[in-house]
C-alpha cells in the first residue's frame, strides 16, 4: 500500500480539500472553520459564558462564599442581599453557593448525556452509512422505533428502571439522544463513502475496518461534533426538567433543576428561589444553543465558501 492511499485526502491531495470544494492554499479546513467561528461575535460570547460557568463549577469549593449544605435557621428565606447575593432558602442555605455546586451536577450531567449519546449512536451510524444493505436497514428501523417514543417519555421510563439520581438521569438522557447521533453519523458516512477517493482506497485493496477508521470517520466527524454541540443545550434542559420532577440528584445535593423544584414551593414568600435558578438555566441553555449554531455555521460556511 502506497503512502498516498494511506493518508487521508485532506492532507494528501490539494491542501485543505473537503467535499470537492477548493480551499485557499495553505489554510487547513480546521483553521478556516476556527476563523469563521471566531468571526461570529455572538457565538464567541456564548462560548465564553459557558466556559465561565464551567470554570465556576470546577472552582465551586474555592469561590463559593458558604458551605452549600450549611443550614442557618437565623437566616431563612432572606432576599438577595450583600451577604447572600442570591438569597437563602427555607433552611437558611446560601443559594449562590448551592447554585455553584449545582452547576457541577447540571453541566456534568449534560456533558455525560451528550458523550454517552454520541458513544452509543456514532459507531453504529458510521457502520450503517458505510456498509448499507441489511446492516443499515436493521439499525435504521431500530432508530426509527426509538425515535417514535417521545424523548422525555423514554427518559423517564429508563429512570423507572435505573431509579433516580444524577448519573441515572444522565444515562437516561444519553440513551434518548443516541438516535439523533446515529442519524447524523449515518448521513455523514453515507456521503463520504460515495466520494471517489474512498472508492479508490477500497479498489486499492484497503479493508473495510481500515477504510472506515482511516477515511470515513475523520471526514464525517465534523458533522458529529456540530451535532454534539447542538445537543448540549438540550441536555441541560432535559436534565433540569427531570431534576425538577424529582428524578435527579437526591437531597441534600441539588442540581439547578432540583433547586428550582425546591424553590417552587415558596412562590408566594420567596420568588427569587425559583426565578434565579430558572434564569441561570435559561442563560446556560441559550449560550449552548448559540455556540452550537455558531459552530454549525462555521462548518457549513467553510465548506460552501471554501474560505
Amino acid at each position: 500500500m502506497t503512502a498516498s492511499i494511506d493518508s487521508s485526502p485532506a492532507r494528501a491531495q490539494t491542501p485543505g480539500r473537503e467535499n470537492g470544494e477548493p480551499v485557499a492554499r495553505g489554510v487547513s479546513p480546521r483553521r478556516a472553520m476556527l476563523r469563521a467561528f471566531v468571526g461570529d461575535r455572538l457565538a464567541v460570547v456564548a462560548l465564553l459564558v459557558l466556559i465561565t460557568m464551567g470554570a465556576l463549577a470546577l472552582l465551586a469549593p474555592v469561590v463559593a462564599p458558604y458551605d452549600p449544605n450549611a443550614q442557618d435557621f437565623s437566616q431563612t428565606l432572606q432576599s438577595p442581599s450583600r451577604e447572600h447575593w442570591f438569597g437563602t432558602d427555607d433552611l437558611g442555605r446560601d443559594l449562590l453557593s448551592r447554585m455553584l455546586f449545582g452547576a457541577r451536577l447540571s453541566l456534568g450531567a449534560a456533558l455525560i448525556a451528550v458523550t454517552l449519546g454520541a458513544a452509543l449512536g456514532v459507531l453504529p451510524g458510521f457502520l450503517a452509512g458505510y456498509r448499507g444493505g441489511t446492516v443499515d436497514i436493521g439499525l435504521s428501523r431500530l432508530t426509527d422505533a426509538i425515535m417514535c417514543i417521545p424523548g422525555l417519555i423514554l427518559s423517564i421510563s429508563l429512570i423507572a428502571v435505573f431509579g433516580p439520581g444524577t448519573l441515572q438521569v444522565a444515562i437516561a438522557v444519553g440513551v434518548a439522544f443516541a438516535p439523533r447521533f446515529f442519524r447524523v453519523a449515518r448521513g455523514a458516512a453515507l456521503s463520504v463513502a460515495a466520494e471517489t477517493y474512498v472508492k479508490a482506497v477500497r479498489a486499492a485493496g484497503a479493508g473495510h475496518t481500515r477504510t472506515l477508521l482511516r477515511h470515513v470517520v475523520p471526514n464525517a466527524s465534523s458533522a458529529v461534533i456540530v451535532q454534539a454541540s447542538l445537543m448540549f443545550g438540550m441536555g441541560l434542559l432535559v436534565e433540569a426538567g427531570l431534576s425538577f420532577l424529582g428524578f435527579g440528584a437526591q437531597p441534600p445535593a441539588a442540581s439547578w433543576g432540583a433547586l428550582l423544584r425546591r424553590g417552587s414551593g415558596f412562590m408566594v414568600e420567596a420568588r427569587y428561589l425559583s426565578v434565579i435558578p430558572g434564569l441561570v438555566i435559561t442563560i446556560a441553555v441559550l449560550a449552548g444553543n448559540i455556540a452550537g449554531d455558531g459552530l454549525q455555521r462555521a462548518v457549513t460556511n467553510q465548506r460552501s465558501s471554501g474560505r
Binding site: 417514535c148 417521545p150 417552587s264
Partner: protein, 314 residues
Amino acid sequence: MLNMIMRRLGAAVIIFFLVSILVFALILLVPGDPAVAVAGENADADRIEAIRSQLGLDDPIIVQYWNWLTDALTGDFGNSLVTGESVISGLTERLPATASLMILSVSLAVIGGVPAGLLAGLRPGSVFDRGASVLATIGLAVPSFWLALVLIMFFSLDLGWFPAVGYTPFTENPWNWFLGLTLPAITLGTAGMAEIARQTRAGVADTSRREYVQTAYANGVPEHRVVGRHILRNASIPIVTVLGLQVAGMLGGSVITETIFGIDGIGSYAVQAVSQRDFPVVQGMVLFVTIIVLIVNLLVDISYGMINPKVRSA
C-alpha cells in the same frame, strides 16, 4: 395515494412491533431481581412472590413477551401494582385532559408560529425578522417548568386571572376548562411556536427566492395570491413535518406541564408511575403514547400527499 397510505401503514406496524419489544425489555433491564426492585427492599417474601407471578417473571422470556403483547393488542395492559386499577382504563380516563391540553398547545403554536414565520420570511433582514428570530431563540431555551412558574406568579398569584392549578372537564364547564388550560397551553406551546416560526421562516424565505415565484411577481400577480398559491403551499411541507415532531415533543413535555399545573392526565400519571416503579403502568403508557405518535406520523405522511401530488407515487 391509497397505495402510499398502505405502505406507510405497513411501516408503522413494523415500528410498533419493534417498540413493543423495547418496552417489554424495560423490565429485563432492571438491575437485580425485578420483583424485589418493584416490591421494595423490605417487602416480605409473600409480597415478592405475588409480584413475581403478577409480572409473569417465572415464564421463559419469549412466553412472557408473547402473553404481554397479545394482551396489549386486545387492550389489556395489565393492572397497576400500586392501585390494582386496570392500566388501560387509567390511561383512557386521563386521555381527555391530555388531549385538551395538546389541542390548545398545538393550536397556539400554529396560530402564533406560522404568521410570525411567514412575515419574517417574506421580509428577510427586516426589523420584524430580526426581532422574531431573537424571540424564537429565547423561546427554545426557556425551560418550560420555569416559564410555568413565572406565568403562575404573574397571572395567577398577582393578577388572579387564571387558576394556578386544576383541570375542569369541557363537558362540565367549557369556560373554566379554557381558563384552567390557558397557562398550561402557553407553557407547553411556546417551544413549539418558536420551532414552527423558525421552520416557516426558512421555508418561506427559501421559496421566495425561487424563479417561478419571482416570475409570478414580475407578471404582476398580486402578492396575496403569490403567497397563498405558491409560497405557502411549497413551504408547508417543512411546516407539517415540524408540526408532527412538535406533537411528539409536546406529548413528552406534558409530563412536566401536567405535573406543575396539577392536571390529572397521562403525563402526570406517567410521573407517578415512574416514582412508584409501577412497571405495568410505565410500559402501558409508553406503548399508548407511541401509538399516538405513530398515528400522528401517518397523518403527516398523508398530508404530504395532499399538499404535493408528486409524493403520492413516490
